[in-house]
Symmetry: C2
Subunit: 486 residues, 2 copies
Amino acid sequence: MTAVAAPNWTAIAQAFREVLGREQVVERREELLVYECDGLTNHRQIPPLVVLPRSTEEVAAAVRLCNQFDLSFVARGAGTGLSGGALPVEDSVLIVTARMRQILEIDYDNLRVRVQPGVINSWVTQATTGAGFFYAPDPSSQSVCSIGGNVAENSGGVHCLKHGVTNNHVLGLTLVLPDASVIQVGGAIADLPGYDLCGIFVGSEGTLGIATEVTLRLQPLPQSVQVLLADFSSIEAAGAAVSGIIAAGILPAGLELMDNFSINAVEDVVKSDCYPRDAAAILLAELDGRASEVAQQIRDVEAVCRQHGARSIAIATDAEDRLRLWKGRKAAFAAVGRISPSYYVQDGVIPRSTLPFVLHEIEQLGQKHGYRVANVFHAGDGNLHPLILYDRNDPGALERVEALGGEILKLCVNVGGSISGEHGIGADKRCYMPAMFSSEDLETMQWLRHAFDPLERANPTKVFPTPRTCGERGSVNSIPVGVELY
Amino acid sequence: MTAVAAPNWTAIAQAFREVLGREQVVERREELLVYECDGLTNHRQIPPLVVLPRSTEEVAAAVRLCNQFDLSFVARGAGTGLSGGALPVEDSVLIVTARMRQILEIDYDNLRVRVQPGVINSWVTQATTGAGFFYAPDPSSQSVCSIGGNVAENSGGVHCLKHGVTNNHVLGLTLVLPDASVIQVGGAIADLPGYDLCGIFVGSEGTLGIATEVTLRLQPLPQSVQVLLADFSSIEAAGAAVSGIIAAGILPAGLELMDNFSINAVEDVVKSDCYPRDAAAILLAELDGRASEVAQQIRDVEAVCRQHGARSIAIATDAEDRLRLWKGRKAAFAAVGRISPSYYVQDGVIPRSTLPFVLHEIEQLGQKHGYRVANVFHAGDGNLHPLILYDRNDPGALERVEALGGEILKLCVNVGGSISGEHGIGADKRCYMPAMFSSEDLETMQWLRHAFDPLERANPTKVFPTPRTCGERGSVNSIPVGVELY
């Protein structure tokens, strides 16, 4: 993908200014610095050129210019992603959707809303809550992350246990493909005939094109929401309660677990006085739905927790009490950040039934490497977020922590899980893909990618392992045949 | 795809016998006749050769032989599909999964089951119901249709309003691709990183390869099931009640509508005495879940129906009463078949809010063409099944009825709906694809298809329109560039 001669960025910027207008092009170094990383802050690359299109037509024009100058491109929403999906790539134009922030259509009758990709996740709920609706996927960055980024990364969130991840809420997309053509995929209704192109695009991390309009599913606001906090004297008991709740046919909106270390970190900082400091683990279960159902379900969740040895139960039925119970969970990452100079968040998935075993193994791995690991995560769907505490200023610490993070991912894969639950692969985890997928699987994904993008112009070097990005060691045997070595 | 010289079927059959064994190959004309059509009985084609593999390896061996002899192939499960997806194609080997009927693994802890593709849909529930679980997608053919066919067609059913279609229940697949390679897609857990190859394969109607193992999601059996029957004096009121129920945040497991003509056809035959003969329409709502929730929801559904002018309400809480209320709905197609020499079932989807308008238009179209159209359908998800009554022996009647069916599909598309809800495109509706998808959309689907199958060996001529199958008229302008003219 590297041109033999370096691109002439002065001439290229001039061409973009002529087509898109001066205000839509960023080329001064001090302004480009803003875009040098996304939420994965240990990877940085200053983009050579940033463009800020305002419409599908302008995105298509930008991609057409990239093709004309033989340049690749990286799409970026709000830049909050945690796997480097929007990390700039050398000699690639960064196409930022931050000026595409219109809510284009709200159709309550058919429970859908059409938005531009730069619309912030929480705006969709804000715009529809007065009429009694909400948009379900709620990544913790929901007040700042964009719908386009959510689509690229197939984002999850606390409430995705019941309501599903982004993929379950995207009905249709307008796409600019890597050849600059514009197509519609999916539509206003679900489960269309033909190949599910909409389903492939969601979670493709910017490697198949750029979504320029997104039709989302709305849901009626639940009549009632209650939150239950249960504390356990062993993490195994808390894990068994999680399985017990699901097996009883109860599907909480969210079901979160925090371990003893996280509880104490939180209580040191937030002083909620809700989380018992001597608990091995707490579970937070949020139930939503019709009032009478929620009232019954909360009793059922309580019964299951008590069967599994819960020592105490607290239930919040009004908004103020709910916030009080959630406050510690929401502050957990910040609290851990206060007691440790640095921390590294991992994201992996395991089958629910392996929860006690995996948590025990993570503790062992932490001890082996000499790092403390805190666990705060979406227990209901087995989506772990181990937080590794370390000091960035220790020479070599980041590398050792990344190695520990990698061992945790391999553990997830070994028990039948996944190397990513909701943060994506991006630049961060591409070298772990061969741990999870066979070379045939990865090769099949490349077939698909090359069908859309034979020259790998859309978000090159991301998601898939290459010798350049992952080196020749170990994983090289799993590099798919036919991948270009850029 | 047509070879210049006709294939030497004697030599080909001999090669298949040598590799797969004599018992796995069918070549006698009287035995081949069994496979000349699927549920779309007005299309027939005797296959030149049928093979009955028993394992992934044997399917791969069969596909390898097809490649060796430059032959295409068609996969067939139980042959109950209604769009001709498993209809044999001239000079193509028919690969039938009827001998792949093992349930390979049941994992209650993680709510999943792994099966071979020939396993019958209802067997999955039968095998797990004792332990308190079920498999949700329930096409009306569930006692005879196969899981492999369900995967190919992304099958729905009465209970898919709440529980989702097949796509929502397939966690992973073992696939034999058109080049005979074997890959795993998806996995035991949902929402894996990388492209959603599992999601593309479900509903691809046999054009991307053959699924040889399927990992399905199990659900806990609901504690309680209740059914409500409401009758209305106008079809508009029944349609408005459907929207009202969904807007109230209630998601019935199923929500079915029958019009006056269907009601009387059913009562003539079944004599259930449940369905008022003077009702313009009845709604049947099945609620499932925990006992207290269902009890509350049924009262809420009743209230919404009364608000929309329901004349009477009947509620069934025990199994016997439920069966009585469902009996007429389940017998509806057969009852219509009794009062008319022939009938033609259409399958389309519309946005729920357009229900009253569309039903009125269908009646007008029926009058214009001189045919009676009965409506019995999945109202909750807007999935229409208009039944056109006619006499197959009238010269030209089938062509006229197909034309009327086509106009109904165009009506669905015009209101923002779809040309297929759950029956698929197959051989039957490929010529309507350009009514729904632009040439760019269809071309993008061909990119994807050719990434897996550049020679179009898997189920050729199905799903996508070609000049040969759809003629040069009208739709030819929408034929995607690059489609081969076979």
